[in-house]
């Protein structure tokens, strides 16, 4: 029976590390380029403004909704179907006078209800975010991401060794840039739940990396022979099955969330899916390859007491 096992594989991962690094650097550059040129399609949470979700008793055409909105003075509103043809999502950019913006949802709804075919339309959700809140969120979100990275760096340094810690962080940053870049490249809506997913990706991406690092450390201690490169290859091959399997199981739950969790969770699920896939690749390649470039060796990973003995002439 096919069990998609990766047992007894002998792939020379490190031989391709230059290619992998080159590929990763290219992808990261594309992501950063997209961020610089296109920027993010930031959601309401960050830009401020108003989002209104209206549910009609029967299917409704978008041009009619637009017309009704334009006559009511909301010509700058963006309108689209949301999930079904009965649900309409309306976005209105931040207004000059904020006190009016806060009362906007009610006037929009009454404008739609009084328009032709709008009777029975109900408000499913309305959100208004003031511009100052958005600015703070961007700042706090960035701080939280940096804080998470710093915390993980310290933890991995404490548990392993600084070169491996740097490798781990390089892999994690790679995953975060890739995920955010994905949202920028395809101009997907980047809202607060997506930011939460990105932070979860930071935590999760390290999971797989730690599995590989643990095995590298174990093999360095167990085997007296073999170059750093060989040990790394061996460790990655040995852990390949569990690295892919753990990612796969988590991926399953996130994919289910994408299909069954409702539209609100779409952005979150996409970010997690991208982050987990990329995180698995970077755990195998980026983390170990970076540590290898930084010159990690057997001596660095031996238990402390022994290390001291080795260093004495």
């Amino acid at each position: 029976m096919w069990r998609f096992d990766f047992y007894n594989t002998k792939i020379d991962f490190m031989r391709w590390r230059k290619l992998a690094m080159g590929w990763s650097i290219t992808v990261v550059l594309i992501a950063l380029g997209s961020l610089l040129i296109q920027g993010m399609n930031l959601g309401l949470d960050f830009t401020g403004g108003t989002v209104i979700e209206v549910q009609y008793p029967q299917p409704v055409e978008i041009p009619k909704v637009r017309e009704a909105l334009a006559t009511a003075g909301f010509g700058d509103a963006q309108t689209q179907h949301f999930g079904t043809s009965r649900d309409v999502l309306i976005r209105i950019p931040p207004r000059e006078a904020q006190s009016n913006a806060a009362a906007l949802s009610n006037s929009v709804l009454s404008a739609l209800q009084s328009a032709e075919g709008g009777a029975g339309a109900t408000l499913a959700r309305a959100e208004f975010v003031g511009p100052q809140v958005g600015e703070e969120l961007v700042e706090q979100g960035g701080l939280a991401a940096l804080g998470a990275l710093a915390g993980i760096l310290v933890y991995v340094m404490f548990r392993f060794e600084w070169r491996l810690a740097v490798g781990t962080i390089a892999a994690t940053v790679h995953d975060v840039v890739f995920t955010i870049g994905w949202f920028s490249l395809f101009q997907l809506d980047f809202d607060l739940t997506v930011l939460a997913a990105v932070l979860a990706v930071i935590g999760y991406s390290v999971n797989d990396t730690v599995v590989v690092l643990d095995r590298i450390r174990e093999n360095f201690r167990k085997r007296r022979k073999g170059s750093t490169q060989e040990i790394m290859n061996l460790s990655i091959n040995e852990t390949l099955s569990r690295t892919t399997m753990t990612s796969f199981v988590t991926l399953l739950s996130v994919i289910v969330m994408y299909f069954f969790g409702g539209t609100v969770m779409h952005g979150f699920s996409i970010a997690m899916i991208v982050g987990i896939v990329v995180g698995t690749y970077s755990s195998i390649y980026i983390a170990s390859a970076t540590a290898l470039y930084l010159g990690v060796s057997r001596e660095d990973l031996l238990p402390r007491a022994k290390e001291a003995a080795d260093e004495s002439p």
Partner: protein, 623 residues
Amino acid sequence: MSTPHTLNQYPWWKYLLIGLVMLWGLIFALPNLFGEDPAVQISGARANIAIDAAFQEKVAALLDTDKLLHKRLELEGDRLLIRFADPEDQLKAADILKDRLGRDYIVALNLASSTPGFLRAMGLSPMYLGLDLRGGVHFLMQVDMDATIKQIEEGYVDEIRGRLRNDKIQYTSVGRAAGGGVQVEFKDSAERDKAMDLLHKDLPNLQQTEPGPSSLKLTLSEREIKEKRDFALQQNITTLRNRVNELGVAEPIIQQQGSDRIVVQLPGVQDTARAKEILGATATLEFRLADEENDWNQAASTGRPPINSRLYKDRHGRPVLLQKRVMLTGDAIVDASSGLDSQSGGPAVFITLDGKGAKRMDDATKDNIGKRMAVVFIENKTETKRVDGELKKTAYTVEEVINIATIRDRLGRRFQITGLDSTREARDLALLLRAGALVSPIEIIEERTIGPSAGKENIAQGFQAAFISFLVIGAFMTWRYKWFGMIANTALAANVVLIIAALSMLQATLTLPGIAGIVLTMGMAVDANVLIYERIREELRNGTSPQAAIHAGFHRAFDTILDSNMTTLIAAIMLFGFGTGPIKGFAVTLSIGIVTSMFTAVTGSRALVNLFYGGRKLQKLSV
């Protein structure tokens, strides 16, 4: 190394411990099984309104006469809860009860947990659902602290002027300094020094500096500013709480967030416009005498009112000329209620003043019977504009004469305002007045409304995703790891129970992202099992005996599991610190899920494995 027979056996106390933890989990998770009843909650509008057995009987009689179907009535402390079988009965009953009971009672719609009494008596309750799951309105409000300090300084300007005048110290001007503080200019330095001694004695809180030879600057100390800010925030919270009570919301949340913000969550409220009218506007009142000597229209057309008067407009835009001197301000008002004027039959607002206010009112009106008095309604509004990419906030006030009436008598503690357009207007005005005039302008900076059907849909989809995810993971684990997979699934189910129990116990808010956190931890919880099982398989391939392989698998994988969970926990904690609302819900379930999964996936599944395989002679493992 020990022999295979003693391997993989837990001492009895470990099983007992796991059993106890699971028992705890089941008990705390239990209330979530019972669902909720649509209910109507009745409480007193004021403290002196008794909600007791007699009242319960009265309500029961009311329900019976109107043939309103209901499940039962429950008296809970100072509120009465009426449960219904379906929401339609609930809405009908609420409307009728509101009508019959009048304004002494607050009738609110509620969802009451149907948890049986004996569980509630044990202090158990179901998870607390966030607004995105139950529907309602969320407001984030910001108190304008600059305006608060400005108001306080203006108060000092008046006070200093009065004190200097009393002591006959000659000053040329008193006013707020541009950069904050109060600046006083004197004729010469001798007068200033006299003033410094006096103010040092009378107003020791103010710090004195001398910007010029004949001028004095007084500033609030850091401590006083902090105190005033805290006070302003607390007063706003109290006021908002009163106003929310007026709105009739069952389980409102009014909380401080940060140093100058207030979160208001109103579950079940749909009419945001009305909620905002009542919550958002801050109103003050000023009572002023009308200027009877000058021509109002002439003053309006020239735009230059006489020196002792100020020009206002009434609600129809007509000019009103009032004396500059304020008789009384809104903060003297103790209570205000609306009703019908016994003489005219029109809507009226009845006002009660505090002792000091009553005396001032009495002094001001005793010589002015027959003259007219106006009530000026002052609304503080704030708007934020983006000017050249910078956020500029401007506060402005709208002043309007809402009523002008002849003083018929000496006014004391109680008097009334008439001439209002409708009973609703009378009610809203009374409401704003009773809640007390706010000292600081407040601005809504975030608002989220979730309709009740959208909330239900979110719950349904969230649970559907969790359920399907459980099935898919369970099927996969069983297929790949056979019996060991089933053990992992059992541990996973136990993990979900523990998460629900922990959320119920902590009464942490469950949000839609929170459900996402549960789904995610389900995937991550079996990760631990995958790590262990893959390790067992590896050991078996290396020729280790089954018992030793199990032992090694659990033992060696533990470090890895700990490390990987710790890093995710670090990210979750960062998320918690930064997050607001729904995101915090995600961080909470993720953190709880990580901790409980460590227990169930490692200790729990180990216990099951030991129970089935421990101490037996095994040829093969079903992994």
